[in-house]
Symmetry: C2
Subunit: 330 residues, 2 copies
């Protein structure tokens, strides 16, 4: 968004009422035609702006787009989201972020979108991404770590998501399922897809993509039965840009601490406190087989600790977990 468009948005938001084109034109020192062009570009971005002859322009209520401008108003993060690229529609924020990262986008650059046409979760699974309702956000990171160490990042991401959800909706009863999903009332509210480009001993970039179901409503969408949203759980519609701001703040704090300490150790208690599977008998589907055991939490490197029937503990680095013998996820 251009400087002028951004300032017009602020004027309209601060006023809350109709502001004449002439007033805006004077305040910004630009022509009325330029005002009109910038208002149109704001509309193309997705803002609803009413225009009435002799009264001027008014920003309609209930606008909640995860744009750089909106997120920036709320976020106190220092480096994460300094650059935010907002797309009205994109195939996938992760695909775009990986592309931008390969072209040299800076550490901390964030991509958001109002909708995704090819939203994806882990292993290429579809992530339902209708417009106007949910948060789709991908962060570009350049951590000075090896690929093996980068595999701890999903844990960081899920802890940041839990913190952000808890701050936006205090009292929300959500929990985490290994490796990186957040559930409310037995249904998925948030997922993470982390991808990296690396040499064998050195990560070039990581993209952490988070999808959070915010205002999705089961009555009027193709929402999967296994999913829920903040609207459904809290009964109130929630602000995507405020949620995005909290997510950036929390992720930044968790990430910085992780790098400083060099391990997940300091987050294990928090993970376990939120874990839906801890102490329960579960099946873990790996690429080659199903392992059954009791979930004993995770290690400092993010692996699942699974106690087998003979009492030994097996570490599982990749897979999908469900309660033993059931199709239900948690």
């Amino acid at each position: 968004m251009g400087e002028s468009a951004s300032r017009i948005l602020r004027i309209l938001r601060d006023s809350g009422r109709y502001v004449s084109g002439q007033d805006i034109s004077s305040e910004l020192g630009i022509s009325r035609t330029a005002v009109w062009k910038n208002v149109n570009s704001l509309r193309e971005t997705g803002y609803s702006i009413d225009a009435v002859s002799n009264r001027g322009y008014r920003l309609l209520e209930s606008i909640d787009l995860p744009t750089a401008d909106e997120i920036g108003r709320h976020s106190t993060a220092r480096w994460l989201g300094r650059d935010i690229i907002y797309m009205k529609s994109v195939d996938s924020t992760n695909i775009l972020a990986m592309m931008l990262a390969a072209q040299g986008a800076l550490h901390g650059t964030v991509v958001t979108a109002d909708s995704q046409t090819a939203g994806r979760g882990r292993k290429g699974r579809e992530w339902h991404s209708p417009p106007g309702t949910n948060l789709y956000l991908s962060m570009i990171l350049r951590p000075p770590v090896s690929p093996a160490e980068a595999s701890q990042i999903p844990v960081i991401s899920v802890i940041a998501s839990m913190r952000a959800l808890g701050r936006l909706c205090p009292g929300l009863d959500c929990g985490v399922k290994w490796p990186n999903d957040v559930f409310c009332g037995g249904r998925k509210i948030s997922g993470t897809l982390c991808e990296m480009k690396a040499e064998m001993d050195r990560v070039e970039h990581v993209v952490v993509g988070t999808g959070i179901n915010v205002n999705m409503d089961p009555l009027n969408s193709d929402m999967p039965e296994t999913a829920t949203s903040l609207l459904m759980e809290t009964g109130c519609s929630q602000s995507r840009s405020r949620l995005a701001a909290k997510l950036l703040e929390d992720f930044e704090a968790v990430y910085d601490q992780w790098l400083a300490e060099g391990s997940l150790k300091c987050f294990l208690k928090e993970w376990e406190a939120g874990s839906l599977l801890l102490g329960r008998r579960i099946d873990v589907r790996t690429a080659s087989r199903i392992i059954t055991g009791r979930s004993m939490g995770i290690t400092e490197s993010g692996a699942l600790r699974l106690q087998l029937s003979d009492g030994s503990v097996q570490l599982v680095y990749a897979g999908d977990a469900t309660l033993h013998g059931k199709f239900e996820i948690v």
Copy 2:
């Protein structure tokens, strides 16, 4: 290369003399104009083909391009190099291979080039890549492993390179320097750049790029002083396509064995037998510091085992090694 061009190449090669356009036209069942067009496309690929009125076409000697056709004639590999994409010039075979892999290119697809305009080694270092002389070859792999396990692939690559060089030039005195360079007489003859795209727990694709200095001549090129070539070491020019074929055969065998056994264990003796640093006092530059110690070989996961002055052994996962206190590499 098209089917007709490939058949014309075979006819000219088998004959070794001039073959008339009419004869080729009859044998292939295509028009003389089509023969002429295909000869021109072969010339564009890089083949020198002489054309003389009333005599026909002749393939000139000393043609040695690492094309699918040439490599395919020599290679007995089963799956590696079933598809070979040859480029007369490319920015970097690794960049093209990573791009093709992202678009879905099959496991085992290989990219070769006569020259690279932006050839790279590890950490973005330049790799001198003049035309007509050396081998630049990148393999697309889709191993069912984690990013941490994929970090063993450079060891596989260097072992395959050593075997291929030894088969092409028996008696060649070369050795390996951790992590993945091959040296002859104290100068570098081959290097590997491995890159991957991965989710945190699952590799999507790996590209293994190998550069081998084959016929590079110090008299007429910008060859780095630290480099050598097969021509310089053996006194004879060598065939790039034969070398490529041997490399594909050896890499395929080593890779298949590695996946079947699930570790580098069975290759450690071979690595140590070829190691230039084993038992020597070396400095290892990591991202943050220089570690000095005695090289004790590598672990099953490819880490360097460094014995420190207090007798303890430290594992180093990433860095550059040189003999202690010297700038020389080996």
